[in-house]
Symmetry: C3
Subunit: 456 residues, 3 copies
């Protein structure tokens, strides 16, 4: 009875305890930003116009990012045939939790420099969604093999480590990473890969049949893919400086994604023995162009450069699904459910390298008076090559924190207190959800029909 | 033959007649607002810049609201297994009709004060969508049990009553209700509950099996849920004043929803005898945090306060689904298909109370010079407590008009002239739609297989 | 073996070759627009504020248009029961390709007048998406009967012809067509109809059963429909002048669509022998109101006029599905899979005529000082009637280029080098995609069950 009670109460207690702690911390430490409380408009600055409120510069981008987090990531993972409720439902739960915690942790690190309370507004909303994105990338690696309490626990640690890494990169190393090739994608992917490595399940093959798609679930997943693809320009440009920089970031990302799509279709058909396209590639690799421009999109990389990067990212990603994922699983015991290594890991590293290389051209000649806006640290004493060096160091730091952090958190998640599913319960909604009717009969139809017919 | 003709022609005649009347009234009474006709920019005011056009302040919010109305409400109701065409299709029809009528009725009431023609622009578009939202809430209560002509008739009366109630609250009582906790949610829910009470079908249990979901229909419904959840900050802030107020409204709503999501998951699992989550709760209760902040979101409620409200709203809503809905059905004979009492009714009342309480703190100390912007009526003669009193009176007025109006309209809809479906036709697309192929075989598979197999 | 290699390599080679050519041309000919490179803000103009950057005027509209192209068109075509992967997947491929090529061709024609390099920014992004929309309309006509390489080839020619026609209309004839009734809809529809005429398949009836929907595929298609419907106001207003004109264009389109929806429901039920609604009509004809206002929406057509046009467009479109599509197929041998003639063809022509008539009222009396903004060419020497004449000539030119161009391109696509599907492979994902599991058993269930059962 006690065991049954614990099983029943684990998730409710975790959710209520975490939310109560969040509420208390928000009560203690958080206040409205100037643009939110009205101090900017009504007290200090008499020439401040409504249309200069940060809200109008960023809220449409925020909403696009929000759609990517909840619809994009959520539906991308519905490709599994019997795990749709969990994919979209746990994505929802983890994201709603992570964005609150991220607001606190990112805000706290920010106030270390400035002092005072944590300020919230549309910028903190975007930054919190970015951190959440990283958690959801790791979620993609462990999808189907972890309990919701396990994932909430992972989110707690990952939000903290993400924020520390982001703080080191952006505030200490002065790296540029507006779209998060390093902070979001590389970090989230390698962190998640280490977690799933530690949680390795050698006998998962048995239920492996469920670790695949059915026809309709693949079309649901395309909803996720397309929203991620369409709104990635908003993602990369959401927290850049106003004006031409935001404009340029969106434009570069758009071209990278378009080129990436063509290379994804090309390589998907090329690597198939019948020349057919594979939905897994289309759903994922076509997005690698956005990941790979996460660092460089705000720079003067030109549409030409963006398209080359996008083309390479798509190719690398498809090749990863075809050759590296099976290798990771069989040799390194890394079971990467969604293939986040191909969509976020390798393209993230590519993006970091592209960012470092593009920084080398950070000169007055290319940027004019806009140079300081993009690279505020570059002066005669700190040349473009130094910036490029900082970008490279940032990648190494990110990989280090992600890999070590992922292993440690993996072992924490291995403790037998989270109600992790057994091997046969993996990739199965029924463990955590009330599922009505036999799932549109999409799986085990033969057995189902037999049962039904012989009952007659 | 006559009966057959009437049955065939009822919907076409209703649609054509209503649309022709609308067109004539628009021709007589409607003209462009200043910002639409260009008078503002080109005639009167030489210092008016393009970027000050109301369009740029409000159109992105309008589109988010529009998505909530057509995709959000439409897909939220596709959870029924055999009623997907009707859910999304009748939602579309009723919304397209209601927004036109609402423009006229709201505009007419507005011109009572100012005189002149009805002005249309992005603000009238948002207000019309808001009124439409209220109609769709009532639609959720009667879903599956009414004919399209019945629903169009309901919409005619509800748009008028909604607009009268809104006019009393906002223009006569000077209540604040930007996100419509009272005007939209409380009104729509209790109006709809009374209609479905009057239309009570004692023998509905027979076809009750169809009044439930299947696997894929629940995933479709999550599309609706997530769009409502993501865009609720835009909904509550769509018609607030520009600048920091709009910014604050969106921010508060966002925190309320995040906290509400965690409490929804907690209570859904807590109340299930196996500790499993229930899709109905996730789809609906997670949205209660937006409803419950519809009045107070523009006030200085702080993220802390918003999260407490959201947490309570989620809990109340899940408890409602678990305990109050069955009670309403068995004792009060209220058959509430979508559980609008839990998502809109109780959280709406909570929102009205929260708004009244928060108004008590409407002082210079908390709002600075922004006080007048949020509470234009508050002066030394009309203190915050008076405002709070007006808020409380507004709730009572709303409940009164909704309950009495709903009963009267319910009896009007009971007249045997609308082609209402028989009990066995409830929750069934085939009555109103051409349905090809046996519905992906999702229901009655045993019988279907038997038929198929014995045909061989 | 050679044949097998060609079959396997056709799509990869086409994609890689096209993308490499695009990248090279972008490298040679494209540069950032002023608002993108930062020249505007940082060099030339010291009074230029960030909020005046074109990005903030147009990016939200661009994103709405982008959603229409990828989700709207993509999901609208998923109604086919076994062609969901191809509908949404090839839509994705062709759109990603077309928007790159369109940027080049439209930009090149623009520089003929001004000289210099092709400038890219948010306006070029919108214009490229518009051209892509036209290609996707033609795609709808040939859907299910062409190979991806065939469609890419069609896109190459159609982008060029579209851009030439657009250049003649907007730059040489000074026609107004902001939402593309002529340039996008009429052109795309009649071009596609001619292509499908030349590619006529007399024996397609055999597999015709697959050329229809199933229950869930119709609900997926409604996602496409609703996004197109909701965002059409953004589409028509995306490249109009700032301020009141953009505001008015969105408003007029919104009313036209609302009226169109009611007439669609009315005529759909009216023409059905049981008075039932037909999903095909709802999915398509309800959008005709947006098409029919593509030319006139920016003019002073008033909500009254917009609603009349929308009402007519819906009626014409439903009548087209009921009477004209069967006629085109049986008598003219035009197999129009999605019925683009009813959604884009006839409503496009209606829109062109409405635009010409509305131009007749282009006087100071109706437009005030805003006249020049909408009709820059109108002077005492070039009266409103001359503008109306130019609008009419534009329709004739568009039809001419579309019809002749479509026939020529149709014959190019008839060459036996594209791997076109055989008649029995039409409307079938399995030819081009890895399809796992038996498609949710939605088709051929009897045979499937028999096979399954007898295996036991």
């Amino acid at each position: 009875v006690v065991k049954w009670l614990i099983m029943r109460l684990r998730l409710p207690i975790a959710c209520i305890a975490l939310e109560v702690i969040l509420i208390i911390l928000f009560g203690v430490a958080v206040e409205y930003d100037h643009d939110v409380s009205g101090e900017a408009g009504h007290k200090t600055n008499t020439t401040h116009h409504d249309y200069e409120n940060e809200f109008y510069y960023r809220y449409p981008s925020f909403q696009d990012v929000h759609v990517m987090i909840f619809i994009g990531f959520g539906f991308l993972m519905t490709f599994l045939q019997r795990y749709g409720f969990s994919s979209v439902g746990f994505n929802f739960l983890i994201a709603a939790f992570s964005l609150q915690l991220a607001t606190l942790v990112q805000g706290f690190l920010h106030t270390i420099m400035t002092g005072g309370k944590i300020h919230v507004g549309v910028e903190s909303m975007i930054n919190a969604d970015f951190c959440t994105g990283s958690v959801l990338i790791s979620f993609g690696a462990v999808l189907g093999k972890t309990s919701p309490v396990q994932m909430l626990t992972m989110a707690v640690f990952e939000v903290i480590l993400f924020s520390v890494n982001e703080f080191i990169l952006l505030s200490l190393l002065n790296a540029k990473d507006a779209g998060g090739s390093m902070t979001i994608h590389t970090f989230g992917a390698y962190f998640g890969l280490m977690v799933t490595r530690v949680l390795y399940r050698p006998n998962l093959d048995k239920s492996n049949k469920k670790n695949s798609s059915v026809y309709h679930s693949d079309i649901f997943a395309m909803i996720g893919t397309l929203y991620l693809w369409m709104f990635w320009p908003s993602f990369n440009s959401a927290i850049t400086l106003h004006g031409d920089i935001q404009h340029r970031t969106a434009l570069n990302t758009y071209y990278s994604l378009a080129a990436c799509t063509l290379s994804t279709y090309a390589f998907s058909a090329l690597l198939n023995h019948e020349g057919k396209l594979d939905m897994v590639h289309i759903q994922n690799a076509a997005l690698a162009g956005g990941v790979a421009l996460g660092t460089a999109a705000e720079m003067m990389i030109t549409p030409f450069g963006s398209m080359i990067v996008g083309f390479l990212a798509g190719a690398i990603s498809v090749l990863g699904y075809r050759f590296i994922t099976p290798f990771l699983e069989s040799k390194l015991k890394i079971q990467d459910t969604c293939g986040v290594h191909n969509l976020h890991g390798m393209p993230g590293i590519l993006g970091a390298i592209v960012g470092a290389i593009t920084s080398l051209a950070a000169t007055k000649e290319h940027y004019g008076n806009g140079l300081t806006a993009v690279f505020p640290k570059i002066t005669s004493d700190f040349p473009a090559s130094a910036q490029a060096g900082m970008q490279a160091i940032s990648l190494v730091v990110t990989l280090g924190i992600a890999l070590i952090g992922g292993i440690i958190v993996g072992f924490i998640l291995k403790l037998p207190i989270y109600g992790a599913p057994s091997d046969s319960q993996c990739f199965e909604d029924g463990v955590y959800w009330e599922v009505y009717l036999p799932n549109c009969m999409c799986t085990n139809l033969p057995a189902f029909i037999h049962r039904v017919y012989t009952q007659k």
